[in-house]
């Protein structure tokens, strides 16, 4: 019997248990006072259903992990099995083929030993499969029957069921912590293995990045150089400088215009339109940057006589990224300008200041911490952005301040290092995790600082 069939059988049993316990509890006399049943029929139903399903499912989960070993052990317990080569590559190849043959994934085997073992393997798989199925169904029956005997007017089924519900809720919310731990653990673990080969000092302060490790030992450049400073510079240059030169003025001025000047109808329509800029997938921006913006910029640079103009310029990626970031800056600025107390604005206007003077001399200085927080969040978003730079920025790790030259970023290199055909153990792939760790830490710090600044600012006016 297949695993899915057993699963459906158990769920069916649970359904039967639910219905029968519910019907029985519904038959209790609706007494008053002490005779009144403690729990509703539905609670009794759920209690019995849980007892029928959960132990059997837990058993199935354990059995799925234990039984392959048992099956293989029984299949090899015969002369053909004992004649197999000792543990090693050849043995595991034969066993893998045996499993493939038995499950039907492989139609025809290459190794005669695997074919010889097939009948024994199949019979033992059937044997243990039946044992598992029977045990699971028995467990479901036993659990259901045990719980069913406890159904009575006095029984506190609701309390028990609600305890299970609370446990499920708690487990669901722990998954967020597990994910965080998983991210930190996987990044740290792989980075430590990387730092065992390349010193952290060289990685953080070296200025030469050429991660090609050679296939043959005598090949030129076989050592590979892992100095990440050009990558950090490229990331900051594109994400924190060029993109912000575009996004901060446009985002801030848009927010000011929409909150202070625009008529409500204009605001109602323009705000969602600007927010659409943040909803466009980054791969679309990347394609736009590579196809339209980058060639135009290269022609422009060539026309005004700038040397080394590359078709994969930092400027193209940075400009498009800045456009993408505009809504982040403008919505944060919008929030913080709106949070400035009306009395400050009224006071300034009453003194005879014009609207723009009020904005420049009162509102913006008062809202500055919120705006700064928003900009920091935008920077953290920009340096973690991948597709635009992968498609529009180059791969050459240059340490240059020429916006028309090609630079590379942390995220570009992560993609580049991990998408080739690489063995997982090489320093090249591990370097991607070290870069990821740096990226994670920097964005985390930026977010913590930004949220703290924003929070402090909100408290100042509350």
């Amino acid at each position: 019997m297949s695993r899915a069939a057993i699963l459906f059988l158990i769920l069916g049993l649970a359904l039967v248990a639910w219905a029968s316990a519910r019907a029985r509890a519904a038959g209790f006399a609706p007494g008053l006072g002490a005779q009144r049943p403690h729990s509703r029929p539905g609670h009794h139903g759920w209690y019995v259903a849980l007892w029928a399903a959960v132990p059997a499912l837990i058993f199935l989960g354990i059995w799925a992990n234990v039984s392959p070993g048992l099956v293989m052990g029984a299949a090899l317990d015969n002369p053909a099995g004992q004649a197999l080569p000792p543990p090693g590559l050849q043995r595991s190849a034969i066993l893998a083929e045996l499993r493939g043959l038995a499950s039907g994934r492989i139609a025809q085997g290459f190794q005669p030993q695997a074919a010889a073992l097939l009948p024994a393997y199949k019979s033992s798989a059937l044997h243990y499969g039946i044992i598992g199925a029977v045990a699971a169904v028995l467990l479901a029956f036993a659990g259901g029957a045990f719980a069913f005997t406890r159904v009575s007017p006095q029984f506190r089924a609701r309390t028990r069921v609600e305890r299970v519900v609370m446990a499920v809720l708690l487990i669901a919310s722990l998954i967020a912590i597990l994910t965080t731990i998983g991210i930190i653990a996987s990044l740290l673990f792989e980075s430590l293995r990387f730092f065992a080969r390349v010193s952290p000092i060289e990685f953080l302060f070296g200025t030469v990045w050429s991660p090609q490790t050679a296939i043959r030992a005598d090949q030129v450049g076989s050592s590979g150089a892992f100095g990440a400073v050009p990558l950090f510079w490229g990331t900051i240059f594109i994400g924190a400088i060029i993109a912000m030169i575009v996004a901060i003025p446009l985002g801030l001025m848009s927010a000011i215009y929409l909150t202070q000047y625009a008529r409500p109808v204009v605001r109602k329509w323009m705000k969602p339109i600007l927010e659409m800029l943040a909803g466009v997938p980054t791969v679309v921006y990347g394609y736009f940057a590579a196809l339209t913006v980058a060639p135009a910029l290269r022609n422009f640079a060539a026309a005004i006589g700038i040397p080394n103009a590359s078709s994969e310029s930092a400027l193209a990626a940075g400009l498009v990224m800045g456009v993408m970031i505009i809504p982040f800056v403008s919505s944060m600025a919008d929030d913080s300008i709106n949070a400035v107390p009306q009395s400050m604005r009224d006071g300034s206007l009453a003194m005879g200041a014009t609207t723009s003077e009020t904005i420049r001399k009162v509102l913006v200085p008062a809202a500055l911490p919120g705006v700064v927080g928003g900009v920091l969040l935008a920077v953290s978003r920009a340096i973690g952005e991948t597709m635009i730079v992968v498609m529009a920025a180059g791969l050459a790790a240059n340490l240059t301040a020429n916006p028309f030259a090609s630079v590379t970023t942390v995220t570009t290199q992560i993609v580049q290092l991990l998408t080739g055909d690489q063995e997982f153990e090489s320093a090249k792939t591990l370097a991607a995790f070290a870069l990821g760790l740096v990226l994670f830490i920097v964005t985390l710090l930026l977010n913590i600082v930004a949220l703290r600044v924003v929070k402090k600012y909100r408290e100042a006016y509350e």
Binding site: I175, I177, T179, T180, I183, Y261, L274, V280, T292, I383
Partner: protein, 419 residues
């Protein structure tokens, strides 16, 4: 009193008038600057969409060439009777349509004529024969897809040779450009005239189903726990901090997590929608939790008090009253999170969903690719025919995203309750 000695400001004086005029001009400049930045930002969006649509609408069309094939005179050995009933598929597979198509093209258009047809032209001939076996008894005119160069020439952007070839075809009235379903029903291919978006679209759909099945229950349950039951202590603070941080972690980090945990540690299949779904679910879950908490917070306490007052337990209060009332808000947040996941590319590149897949995936564990990754792959292609196909795929993706966001706005407007 001192004030008696002060002369009041003379607002009518020339200096004052000039000053006021200067201030008002600054006001107008500032206002114009604001308007300009709003218009510039919106202009970027318009330019982006305009470029994509301008490049992309031609991707949905296809240029066909009328090829006349003289079947009795050709080398094709195929009995029309074999195409009836069983064995038809085998008979078709055994016949050399490729050679016949190439020979017919060479004969009709001169030496090198086969190069004017798409690599998949013989498929069109085969399908025509399969649909109407009596074509085999005579000379037949069949519309077959043209090669990329002719296709581009028909759409007005190609080199001189192709332009000339197209002009000759056009003069002979043997060419047409029209809307084609190939792009909407096919999967990836090496020839831009044969590619389609359906394979990637189906991959996206399966991945999104996996994502929502994992992220929605977990997200809603943890939002309920944190908002309704969680005691204020160090543990719940930790959960909250992790959720807020996860929402801000760059998406590529989730890809690294998926690679290290799901592929290298748990040995799940590479390129499979289930792995993509798991990775995107971890990414989307914080969005759902945050949206869910806001929606739950918006349910007024009086509802809870009333339910508790007539004897409901705390679980009953939440599942019978709070959750149904908060559900529209949660759904809106979920759809927005899903839209973000749908456009996500980087984490899926990390877990190997960038393979060349020429068949639409059939299930959760089969190799697949998704729309944004397909766009990325096509954008890397050298052949010029892929430019319009990439833009056309972007149009499909944007339409899909727009539909999802429209649904979210509709839900919010329809079910939003003001307490």
């Amino acid at each position: 009193m001192n004030s008696a000695g002060r002369t009041p400001t003379d607002w009518k004086s020339g200096a004052m008038q000039r000053r006021i005029a200067r201030r008002y001009a600054a006001e107008r400049r500032f206002r114009l600057l604001g308007l300009a930045s709003v218009l510039l930002s919106a202009g970027f969006l318009a330019f982006l969409l305009f470029t994509m649509i301008g490049n992309g609408w031609r991707g949905f069309t296809q240029t066909d060439i009328k090829l006349s094939v003289d079947f009795p005179a050709s080398t094709l050995i195929l009995d029309p009777a074999a195409l009836e009933g069983f064995g038809a598929r085998q008979a078709l597979a055994g016949a050399d349509f490729e050679g016949v198509t190439a020979a017919a093209a060479d004969e009709q258009f001169g030496e090198g004529g086969a190069r004017m047809l798409s690599d998949g032209a013989w498929l069109a001939v085969r399908d025509a024969v399969a649909a109407k076996p009596d074509l085999l008894s005579g000379k037949a005119n069949i519309w077959v897809p043209a090669a990329t160069a002719i296709d581009l020439a028909a759409k007005g952007s190609a080199d001189r040779d192709s332009e000339a070839a197209y002009a000759r075809l056009d003069a002979a009235d043997a060419v047409r450009t029209q809307f084609s379903t190939t792009f909407l029903t096919g999967a990836d291919a090496t020839d831009p005239t044969l590619v389609g978006i359906w394979g990637a679209f189906k991959g996206s759909l399966i991945t999104m189903i996996a994502t929502v099945l994992i992220a929605f229950p977990i997200g809603v349950l943890s939002a309920l726990y944190l908002e309704e039951y969680a005691p204020r202590n160090r543990w719940t603070d930790l959960i909250e901090v992790s959720i807020n941080n996860l929402a801000a972690v760059p998406s590529i980090i989730f890809g690294l997590l998926g690679l290290a945990v799901f592929l290298n540690f748990m040995h799940l299949p590479r390129s499979a929608p289930i792995v993509g779904g798991l990775t995107l679910a971890l990414m989307t879950m914080p969005v759902i939790v945050i949206a869910g908490r806001n929606a739950i917070k918006a349910v007024p306490p009086s509802i809870r008090d009333a339910a508790l007052g007539i004897g409901a337990s705390r679980v009953q209060v939440v599942f019978h009253h709070v959750l149904p009332l908060a559900l529209p808000g949660i759904l809106t947040g979920t759809i927005i999170g899903m839209a973000r996941a749908l456009g996500e590319t980087a984490p899926l590149l990390m877990i190997g969903m960038r393979a060349f897949i020429s068949q639409p995936p059939g299930g959760m564990t089969e190799p697949a690719t998704v729309l944004p990754v397909q766009i990325f792959l096509w954008s890397d292609e050298v052949s010029r025919g892929f430019v319009e196909k990439t833009s056309a795929a972007i149009i499909v993706l944007l339409v899909f995203l727009l539909a999802m966001n429209g649904l979210a706005i509709y839900l919010r407007n329809k079910f939003e309750t003001r307490w």
